[in-house]
């Protein structure tokens, strides 16, 4: 009786998910492997060639740079916040991080267009060449605006967990600051940092709204390619290429997870 009830409660969600998520997933895979109504590898093959391959490489490169730079800078900022004696400053930075980590998409693009865009306030002062914001490094700077706060949110609790006693114990045993970080600090922080890097990579990789709103971006990105293939900006019949590209994206995201999960397991094993 209770078991039947339990099933009933979870049923609507599972049915909903199967319909709204499952059917598109099946359609995606089926479409990616169909060309001219027949099963084929042509779309997938084409999605890994020429401009599409460049776009995929561009996306991966951008996400990797954003993830690594965001992780390093975010960790430094988090460490500065956590060790600060000023409670108010700490609160302010953590609240701001929460807000900015959620501040992605279209508004983020307009912020930077107003700042460093062709008619931006700061680019005028600096005399930046036209289009400087719309390059690879321009996009990195824009993406870091949400990536660093995200990393601060991930790292602050982990850094809080580093007890001062560990540092004192290490110092009493004659360890230098470098040795403390190398043999105590970093190993304890590794799981959180790995998680942060994966999170940053994922959000930069999936970002579409920001890049799309920055009209005139010269950086090839796979999300932009999918969108233009889907909305028929190019020739008709390219939808299946969009599906193949989407499949490639999911594979990349899946690969990142496949690398991350065992690493995470290894690095947390001794913490338990």
């Amino acid at each position: 009786m209770t078991r039947a009830k339990g099933w009933l409660g979870a049923l609507p969600l599972l049915v909903f998910f199967a319909l709204v998520f499952g059917i598109p997933a099946i359609a995606l895979v089926a479409g990616a492997f169909t060309a001219n109504g027949e099963p084929s590898l042509a779309n997938v093959g084409q999605s890994l060639q020429g401009g599409y391959l460049t776009a995929m490489a561009g996306s991966v490169q951008l996400s990797a740079v954003v993830a690594l730079a965001g992780a390093v800078l975010g960790t430094f900022l988090a460490q500065a916040v956590v060790t600060s004696r000023f409670a108010l400053l700490r609160e302010a930075v953590l609240t701001a991080s929460g807000v900015l980590a959620n501040f992605g998409g279209v508004p983020l693009a307009f912020f930077w267009i107003a700042t460093l865009g062709n008619s931006g306030v700061i680019s005028g002062l600096l005399g930046l060449p036209s289009g400087a914001l719309y390059t690879f490094w321009g996009l990195v700077i824009v993406y870091l605006y949400f990536a660093i706060p995200l990393m601060v949110l991930v790292m602050a609790p982990a850094l809080d967990g580093l007890r001062p006693q560990w540092r004192e114990a290490a110092a009493n045993n004659g360890a230098t600051a470098w040795q403390f970080w190398r043999f105590v600090g970093l190993p304890v922080l590794t799981p959180a940092m790995l998680g942060g890097v994966v999170l940053l990579f994922g959000s930069a990789f999936a970002a579409f709204a920001t890049a799309n709103a920055m009209v005139g971006t010269v950086v090839p990105l796979v999300t932009l390619k999918i969108a233009s293939a889907l909305t028929g900006d190019v020739l008709i019949g390219y939808e299946n290429i969009a599906l193949a590209l989407s499949l490639d994206m999911i594979v990349v995201a899946g690969l990142v997870m496949a690398i991350y999960l065992p690493l995470q397991k290894r690095s947390t094993r001794w913490l338990r």
Binding site: F17, P107, F111, A114, I250
Partner: protein, 283 residues
């Protein structure tokens, strides 16, 4: 920042702690520059033009801009519908998993994590394809009308469905955090033994205990739906975020003004989330 650097000389004689403090000051200064300059520049961009000088016209113009009201209304109603549907689907499922079907827990975990792993744009790609194929395949059946009605531009139900999938991870985390703080099984058994009906248990026992978790799930959903661009743009609808991009070409100042307001809105929503949780702790 000034207060921080001003205090340094006081602690300077003690050598060991003074070095990291200098380092910390530098980090804070750099971070402040990187995060505050765009904010200030955007604000300046919206209120200053070389011809008209300083004016707040961009913010006034917002209210009268064509499409502002209708797109905001659409986004708001989509958000409300998404919140209601997401909670209606998730809460019973999570209660069921806790009360009588613990074996479903891994399934729930996967269902509520997948939307985070799969990039939204690939989800839309699959969704548009299935909608198109569905319209072709179902043309002779009564389901066809349903599929068309779901895509009604006045109120695109399909967006609500897609948004529910996208917010599932956040709703799940919030509710999970709320359910962790109470012993659901004991509460339900106690209430049932005292003769309470199931609806009574749900509305008078469970939901009051979950109030802060429900509030935080709702605010997070609201923030996500109001800012959502990818799905709406690719399915061809015009809620708020899509509208901003549409007008940005002709009204640059206005779009930046909206961006500043949306930063404020996110801040207010997160404030609401945190007060919802701290309010509970006080009790």
């Amino acid at each position: 920042m000034a207060a921080l650097t001003g205090l340094e000389p006081v602690t300077a004689p003690v050598r060991a702690p003074s070095r990291p403090r200098l380092w910390r000051g530098a980090v804070f200064l750099l971070a402040a520059a990187y995060f505050l300059i765009p904010l200030g520049a955007s604000l300046w961009y919206t209120i200053y033009t070389p011809t008209a000088g300083v004016s707040f016209a961009a913010y006034g113009e917002l209210l009268t801009a064509e499409g502002f009201g209708s797109s905001l209304l659409l986004s708001m109603s989509l958000a409300v519908a998404t919140i209601v549907l997401a909670l209606l689907l998730t809460l019973p499922a999570m209660l069921a998993v806790r009360l009588s079907a613990p074996r479903l827990r891994p399934v729930m975990e996967v269902v509520c994590t997948l939307p985070l792993v799969v990039p939204p744009i690939t989800f839309v790609a699959g969704l548009t394809t299935s909608l198109r194929t569905g319209t072709d395949v179902l043309a002779p059946t009564p389901f066809w009308a349903t599929l068309i009605a779901v895509q009604n531009p006045a109120f695109p139900v399909v967006l609500v469905l897609a948004y529910v999938v996208l917010v599932l991870p956040f709703v799940y985390r919030s509710l999970d955090a709320g359910l962790r703080t109470m012993d659901v099984r004991t509460l339900v058994e106690a209430a049932r033994n005292l003769g309470a009906s199931w609806p009574h248990v749900l509305f008078r026992v469970i939901i009051p205990n979950l109030r802060s978790a429900l509030a935080s799930a709702s605010f997070l959903t609201l923030a996500l739906v109001l800012g959502e661009f990818t799905v709406a743009r690719l399915l061809g609808y015009q809620p708020f975020a899509v509208w901003i991009v549409t007008i940005s070409g002709s009204k640059g100042q206005l779009s930046v003004a909206v961006s500043i307001l949306s930063l404020l809105l996110i801040w207010l929503l997160l404030l609401a989330v945190s007060t919802a949780f701290s309010g509970k702790e006080r009790k």
